[in-house]
């Protein structure tokens, strides 16, 4: 009897402590006084995020994140994430923001805050050379591979619905390799990374078929981080103007920074 009472009491305490959870939005001052900023990045999407030959996170996104730390004057703590867990990590305060090739869409903007675009991603449909695919309708009846939960996943599901058999993979390399292995007929994936991958595997005879969409990426924050969001926007605006962002883009993509519309 006493045990049951103690259990009920502790359960009640836990429930009330949940209601008393502090809801202060994080400000730039908090980050400055803490001295470090936790930035979530992807490390499995070359050249946005990779593991370099010293097994450290490196890539375009990581360099932007490190530059952010320099401008803010704090130490950067890079947290390697995967596509499925980048938003849960952000929303549960385990990282302060993410620089993780996250495409800006209104649907996502309901849950998070986007900065002005700092890079763009081209989503391209790849398939074997002999397959006649020129537009999205040609994908009907084919098996198409996409990484789970990405913009192309949502787009294809909405546009074609059950007319296309979508295979969802856990990460980008699995998707690229699935097409090479013949497990799917076509994939919708990042253009540049795909070009590099299939150039190194010419036996697959894989080419670009058409561009599915052009997606600008934004640095992503929680809905209540208005103060940080304004700082990040100022940062992106500044490094675009002074050419640092273009220099980083040329270093990793060998092309100049594309035109990125701002909002």
């Amino acid at each position: 009897m006493r045990l049951i009472r103690t259990l009920l009491a502790s359960l009640l305490l836990l429930a009330t402590s949940a209601a008393l959870r502090p809801s202060a939005a994080q400000t730039v001052d908090e980050i400055l006084s803490r001295g470090t900023i936790n930035i979530g990045v992807l490390v499995d999407l070359p050249p946005y995020g990779i593991l370099n030959d010293k097994q450290e996170p490196d890539g375009f996104d990581i360099e932007v994140a490190k530059l952010m730390g320099t401008y803010l004057g704090v130490k950067v703590n890079l947290v390697p994430l995967t596509s499925p867990n980048r938003i849960p990590f952000l929303l549960t305060n385990k990282v302060d923001l993410i620089v993780a090739t996250f495409g800006i869409t209104p649907e996502r903007a309901k849950q998070v805050l986007f900065s002005i675009p700092y890079s763009a991603i081209e989503n391209v449909v790849f398939a074997a050379k002999d397959k006649p695919i020129a537009k999205i309708e040609d994908l009907k009846g084919l098996r198409v591979g996409v990484p789970r939960g990405t913009v192309q996943d949502v787009l294809l599901s909405k546009a074609l619905g059950s007319a296309v058999k979508i295979s969802r993979f856990d990460d980008d390399p699995s998707t690229y390799q699935a097409l090479l292995a013949g497990q799917v007929d076509a994939i919708a994936e990042t253009g540049l990374t795909g070009d590099n991958f299939y150039a190194a595997h010419p036996e697959g005879n894989i080419v670009r078929k058409f561009t599915l969409l052009q997606q600008p990426n934004g640095i992503t924050m929680r809905k209540d981080q208005f103060n940080l969001h304004q700082w990040v926007n100022t940062f992106v605006y500044f490094i675009k103007l002074n050419g640092e962002l273009n220099a980083l883009y040329e270093k990793w993509f060998q092309k100049p920074l594309p035109v990125l519309p701002v909002f």
Partner: protein
Amino acid sequence: MRALNIGDFEFLLLALRWTIALAALAAVGGGLVGLVIALLRTAPSRAARWAAIGYIRLFQGTPLLLQLFLVFFGGDMLGVPLGAWTSAALGFSLNAGAFLGEIWRGAIQAVPEGQVEAARALGLHYLPRMFRVVLPQALRVAIPPTVGFLVNLIKSTSLAAIIGFVELTRAGQMLNNATFRPFIIFGTVAAIYFFLCWPLTIASGRLERRLGAAYVR
């Protein structure tokens, strides 16, 4: 896309220590929880038995990946932020406890009823009865399924990647993403897992033979 270098294999070996640490944590934590669950499951009180059955059904019936996810991210939702290690320890222990509890329940019930009656007749209370008479005899029956489960546990530590651990499997994935050499990388990862699990099975065989010495005719 870069070439593989010797540093990459060192990277895999360093990631191995997280796998070993997680597996050890899960085994110890799961062992403690499993013992409690097994004893509850075989208790005379019906309430205790039903509580244990409910716990076992819940944790056996839901995926370990989701359990880890809910512990790690759910902690924040409830206002009790749990670090990655705490969540991993908690998640793995609770899950392993359910499976080990059932295994040990079976082993306890395999001990002849006469042993329990004799212990009672000698005046032994519940705890001395369990720890001096029943559990030592249940140990021999429990070893094969327990070791089998622990070997599986070592491999299911790869699920901790969802909560941010760069353990062996995830390290292999990250290297593959950088170098696109899946066969050599995942072959090496598989070999490392094998050499991690192999000594366990050897040790278990030795332990079984030693415990079974009393039963050899």
